[in-house]
Symmetry: C2
Subunit: 200 residues, 2 copies
């Protein structure tokens, strides 16, 4: 042990596959490395950004597309023909339409935030609040989508077959289920991000 | 640096609130400590078991109780009176009944596994498979429950009010929603456990 009280000498065996530089930096940093999501734009370039960020953006874009198709396919037949059997006649289909619009708005916000993050980190809200919010809202949107898909099935069985509304409801429900699956993957990703933040 | 190639001397500043012993043990153990869930019964006593384990068991017991009440409240009126308006006449209520029975069976298995774990660790399946399985099946049961609850609401509105089946369906659906909320918390816990296992 040296006399200087500020400097501590530690004797340890060099570990396999760990260079002295790494071991030294480990000794200086006893706490685990921070989450790969909590990096700053200043220190990292475009290419070193984790691919999970882009995967997330891609998934969000799919959700945006699917929920838009799901909502528009319900709305189009009721606009084309002024028949009384538009989707507004069925409260269950109205609920589905509302859920798809909500999913669309939420995903638009998430995409906007994701793009803002690439342009300027932490432009809208802090990372921690964003991680918590994403996880909770992803879960909520997922549950709303599965609920809407389930509610629509008995209605589809009630609607007269081969009518434009019947086709629209089937397309909408299929898209709704696909959106639910993609949102499910988004929830897993945001849950993983949140867990990393809590544990690290 | 000493001459002995097996021993590496590192000079570093002692950190605040970290004793030399801790720093030394950190240098010897560069990887984070293992998950608190991966302990063995041999090394830990009853009192040192993490409280999350008991919370989980308590939640599972609630799910068992609620799903049982939910299923039985649907089944009782149809047994009491041989009226045609039993829940079997409505496919949506049959679906709810099936989901509650599935939730009951799954939770019975989870409770059995939890009690087996207390008696003899790893009696049934390995911890890793159990964590993955619990997370996936919790999610699945949660989605099935919210789907069943949603599907039952339009049917409850169709059923004649103040009949035994109407009351039963309302009790069942309320319990189903409560079960969903508790399963939601179970999913969060099992997701947290799984994340700890993946990250650590």
């Amino acid at each position: 042990m040296k006399e200087d009280s500020d400097v501590l000498a530690i004797a340890c065996r060099p570990m396999a596959n760990v260079s002295p530089v790494t071991a030294s930096s480990l000794a200086h940093q006893p706490f685990p490395t921070p989450s790969p999501f909590s990096f700053s734009v200043a220190s990292t370039g475009w290419s070193s950004r984790p691919s999970i960020h882009y995967t997330n953006l891609g998934l969000r874009f799919s959700v945006l597309l699917f929920s838009f198709v799901s909502a528009i396919s319900l709305a189009i037949p009721s606009k084309k023909k002024n028949q009384p059997s538009s989707f507004t006649a069925y409260p269950e289909l109205m609920y589905c339409f509302t859920v798809h619009i909500l999913a669309f708005l939420y995903t638009s916000f998430q995409l906007f935030k994701g793009i803002c993050d690439i342009a300027h980190r932490g432009f809208l809200i802090s990372d921690m609040i964003s991680d918590y919010m994403s996880f909770i809202l992803d879960q909520l949107v997922g549950y709303l989508l599965i609920s809407a898909s389930s509610v629509a099935i008995p209605v589809i069985l009630q609607i007269e077959k081969a009518t434009p509304l019947w086709t629209a409801a089937i397309i909408s429900n299929t898209m709704s289920f696909v959106t639910f699956l993609v949102i499910g993957i988004c929830t897993l990703l945001s849950g993983y991000k949140l867990c990393k933040r809590i544990i690290w």
